[in-house]
Amino acid sequence: MDTATVETQPPRVRGEGERPPLPPLPPPPVVDLGFLKEVVEATAGVSRLEMCIQCGTCGGSCPSAADMDHTPRQLFAMVRAGLRDEVLRSNTPWFCVSCYHCVVRCPQGVHITDIMYTLKSMAIRAGYYKDATAPDFAKTFVYYVENYGRSFELGLATRFYLRHHPLRVPGIAPLGLDMLVKGRIDLTPRRIKHMDQLKAILARAAELEAAQ
């Protein structure tokens, strides 16, 4: 050990003999304590997410809690803890059926459904979801709206099913046939008159959102 090395060592504790340096500490877990604020700010209206008292009313009320990676309550605790990646990878927001039961029952008035929408769009942007079914359904839906101004069930169903549940198409097809027989499905999409106007509005909105 040459003198130069000794000098760069931390100062010795008084009264102790010379000791070898301590090994380096492992890095702390990756947390993003600004995540809560980010989620709150990205949600329209007043989310009150910071008011959660972890009582579990949401998780108890949720019709699809059984299929979620985390209950909504756990997800909010994770948002608070700054576990950004785990939150955006969780399937929980994608299993939210927008039933608003938790919203009206929440004793703290947290706008849970709107927070789920926020987390969904954050997850899409981050490209973090592991199962693309739900995001793709949303995107397919958006495709029809952006091109026709209306949703189109048949197109939506076929486009989406062929991609995600090709094996289920034969099972579902008779159902579609039934609908056709009953006159409940259009074969071609309908387009609104002023599609150009809608496109202009959506384009401007997208610009404004990107600017944020």
Binding site: P63, D67, H101, V104, S121, F137, L208
Partner: protein, 344 residues
């Protein structure tokens, strides 16, 4: 006096019976409706998950169009008409729950957040439009019938009371909740549809799952999740001895009716719970022509239920009922009142 109508995409085709029957009963009771010209999709629950501002702008275009159309003439219904002074917000009827919620939510948040209001209007300006939050009041058709037309008037118009028909009133989620304007008697346990059905003479089941979820878009994304939700509802309706279930939302009707067969196949069950729109039942009670009400277009045959009150539909009108693959084996014990619907 006219009411503005925002029908929504579902009403155009797959929930055509809803539109047909609502137009029929509105014509019958003299409620004049006028569609918002060139309306576009409300985005359902999908658009907002992809991007926020475009979603609100998409919805706001409809509000702006409604505002423009209503302010062009004097004879559109406004809030407070007939009760307080004139000059309130223009009434816009949205019979679909998702549309109702999305339109209400956009109006509410634009009013609550000046930033959102400004941005949405910047986007609308690109299409030459503008919307001032609060100028349009979004209301569900059920709300209009119960609170504007009034149950007394409904009762008077009944010529074929639904006496003896046990109906489970089903509201679904997005109409009574989150209820920004506190229009409904309760977001958990509303009574508007219950009271309306009673006025039609039906025997109303105190349906505990009346505002529980029908599965929403889960039929597309994760069918097993949706089937489970459909099973719960159909089972509870059967448990409570309902002859049929009345809905106020196209999505609920679609999931419970069209996917009931798929659900039966998935769980190997034999539920046969007819799902009708409340407007169809109103039309039946008003004595309107059954075909004009879109009856017979449902996938789970409603004939046995309606036969109970002496309403006969020509056989040709009804498509053959789909049968479950297997008939044996019930995962659930038989509930009181379930017998009469499992004979099919």
């Amino acid at each position: 006096m006219k009411y503005l109508l925002y029908p929504g995409c579902s009403m155009e085709r797959f929930s055509r019976p809803y539109k047909d029957s609502l137009l029929a009963i509105c014509q019958h009771i003299g409620l004049e409706l006028e569609e918002v010209d060139d309306w576009n999709c409300c985005g359902a629950t999908e658009y907002i998950a992809v991007s926020l501002l475009p979603a609100y702008s998409l919805i706001a275009r409809n509000l702006a169009l409604a505002q423009q159309q209503a302010s062009s003439g004097p004879d559109y219904h406004r809030a407070g008409d007939g009760r307080n002074s004139r000059g309130g917000a223009y009434t816009l009827i949205a019979p679909c729950s998702a549309c109702y919620l999305n339109l209400s939510k956009t109006d509410h948040y634009m009013g609550e957040s000046p930033i959102l209001n400004e941005k949405v209007n910047q986007a609308l300006a690109a299409g030459g439009l503008h919307y001032t939050p609060g100028t349009v009041e979004i209301r569900h058709l059920l709300d209009i019938i119960v609170n504007e037309i009034g149950l007394e008037a409904v009762r008077k118009a009944v010529v074929r009371p639904l006496t003896g028909l046990r109906v489970a009133p089903y509201y679904g989620c997005m109409t009574p909740r989150p209820d920004y304007k506190k229009r409904w008697s309760n977001p958990e346990y509303p009574t508007e549809l219950d009271r309306l059905l009673k006025a039609l003479g039906a025997e109303v089941v105190d349906f505990p799952l009346k505002t529980h979820c029908c599965g929403g878009h889960m039929t597309q994304i994760s069918p097993p999740v949706a089937y489970e939700l459909i099973r719960r509802l159909v089972h509870a309706a059967a448990q409570y001895g309902a002859d049929l279930l009345a809905t106020i939302c196209p999505m609920c009707q679609l999931n419970l009716d069209v996917y009931q067969g798929e659900m039966n196949r998935y769980f190997d069950t034999t539920y046969r719970m007819p799902i009708l729109f409340f407007t169809q039942l109103m039309g039946v009670a008003y004595g309107l022509e059954l075909k004009a009400l879109g009856l017979g277009q449902e996938l789970v045959d409603a004939r046995p239920a309606l036969a109970k009150i002496g309403v006969e539909m020509p056989a040709a009108e009804a498509a053959p009922a789909r049968r479950p693959r297997k008939k044996e084996g019930l995962p659930m014990p038989r509930m009181p009142g379930e017998e009469e619907m499992s004979h099919d």
